[in-house]
């Protein structure tokens, strides 16, 4: 006689098991928070300034790039420097979730093979690490805004004759908080989904690495949309297309805009919301089908 498992045992490939993994993973908050913080401390162990280096290197890059591109595109420094700094900080978070998210399971191979734990723990470890880096970088943002507060606390333009009119900092800037929460939520599905794919197909990390640098330049971070639309460029259809179909722009914009008092399209929020739902659906599907395979593949 062949023994049959009782109906109460959910099969390996089921949404019930995928949900269960995520639920238990989130519940082990202390574990992933500790691991994420440990990663940061580990990276800067034996250096005198420690994690302060995150802040310093961000400050140096942002100021350098900000001044360079302000001169190149002839933008006023007091509005352009906070723009580049904030954009760069937000980009760093997204970039971190993507590039470290894809290797999440590969780098945690030892733990995955030796200790039973929900996969979600490792995804949250990665996203939490990026969140901590973001928090360190936020110091640069605060300093920058403190210096140039006078330039962005009222309605302003990046480019004087035809530029988009921005509302300036205000109470509405608090939408940055839900915006960051949404970005982090996206970081988790992204890590789960491409983490699983990259574990199976080791070419994917290489593909992403080769595209990510290009994506940085295609997304308005060191340049502003006004450079395309302003000063006689209003009828550049291709430029509009570039924005509508670049999801990275919308992700950067929903968080960057409130932080420096810039105009944000409802369309950006709609795109981000849509991608969040779609991404989670895909991640759940991947978790349902391949969650149990990851320990075989690493």
């Amino acid at each position: 006689m062949t023994p049959v498992p009782p109906a109460t045992v959910a099969p390996t490939r089921s949404f019930a098991r995928a949900y269960d993994d995520i639920r238990r993973g989130v519940a082990q908050r202390e574990l992933w928070a500790h691991l994420g913080w440990q990663d940061i401390k580990q990276r800067y162990r034996r250096s005198v300034l420690g994690p302060l280096w995150i802040t310093i290197s961000m400050g140096v890059t942002a100021i350098g790039l900000g001044i360079l591109y302000a001169v190149l595109f002839k933008h006023p420094l007091p509005v352009f420097l906070p723009y580049v700094t904030t954009g760069f900080i937000v980009w760093n978070f997204i970039n971190g979730c993507l590039t470290e998210g894809m290797s999440t399971f590969i780098t945690n191979e030892g733990l995955i093979k030796h200790l039973p734990a929900p996969l979600t723990v490792y995804a949250l470890r990665t996203v939490w690490r990026q969140t901590l880096m973001f928090a360190h970088n936020l110091v640069v943002y605060v300093i920058m805004v403190a210096i140039y507060f006078g330039a962005i606390d009222h309605r302003y333009q990046m480019e004087i004759p035809n530029g988009q009119i921005h509302p300036g900092l205000g109470l509405w800037s608090l939408t940055a908080i839900p915006a960051f929460a949404v970005l982090a939520l996206n970081g988790v599905w992204l890590t789960l989904l491409i983490g699983i794919i990259s574990t199976r197909y080791r070419d994917i990390p290489q593909v992403i690495n080769s595209v990510i640098q290009l994506a940085f330049y295609l997304t308005p971070i060191v340049w502003s949309p006004d450079d395309l639309f302003g000063s006689g460029g209003a009828n550049r259809i291709w430029a509009k297309v570039l924005f509508q179909f670049n999801p990275l722009y919308h992700f950067v914009q929903v968080l960057r805009a409130p932080l420096i008092g810039q105009h944000v399209d409802w369309w950006s929020w709609a795109t981000v919301g849509g991608i969040t739902v779609l991404g989670w659906a895909l991640a759940l599907l991947a978790m349902r089908n391949y969650r149990a395979r990851v320990s075989y593949w690493v």
Binding site: P3, T12, Q42, L115, Y201, Y296
Partner: protein, 272 residues
Amino acid sequence: MVSIDVWNASVDFPIFDAKTRSLKKAVLGKVGGKIGTDQKAPIIEALHDITLSLREGDRIGLVGHNGAGKSTLLRMLAGIYEPTRGAAHIHGKVAPVFDRGVGMDPEISGRENIIIRGLFLGMTRKQMEKRIDEITEFTELGDYIQMPLRTYSTGMRVRLALGVVTSIDPEILLLDEGIGAVDAAFLDKARNRLVDLVKRSGLLVFASHSDEFLIELCDTAIWMDEGHVKQRGGLREVLTSYKGRDPYENMSTETLARLGLDPVLPDVPARA
């Protein structure tokens, strides 16, 4: 109720070489018709058609040659490998000690590793911090507890891993043969603590090549061979057929008395 149930479970490992693990083959392979080769990665059947039912109070020894599937079975029982065919259901808090404490971070201190391992086993940070002194004392690591783990010897790592699991009252304890890496003096000490722990904890599965250790900790045994369960029954009976001789034969009467055993082989009915 602590239990592990396994129904007709198999564990197959796909072996991806550099070529099959890339997208190139998966994508290009579909275009232009089939090339004579098999598209799928070769598979190693590590476990084949295992059916087990482990209940609270079971203390099971795993014996078998190298590569017989002992470690894979332990990992399946821990829930790390979910069976590719069949099903496994684990009910209870699992604490594994595999492969000489690999799975610890070599760059961070023993202390930090204790906390992280504890967190993995479902403890809170506070609970682990309370236990650190006790674990340090038990493992005799002293000031080494503050040193990065890469400075530890293999035996010291096993001590640390054993120190953690024996301090947290797990419900299901899974031990791999790696724990043999510690020295005799510590083994004695660990044995007492393990025996004690096994009495308290629900379930033990222990893979080992050491008869003495098996006899001390286990009462039943599973003989694994080529991924199958070759025999399951009383420890003495399984060891006798696995080794081809009665392991109790050469034991001194004192040892036997300590273990509370008869000098002659009792007629133990085989358990399914």
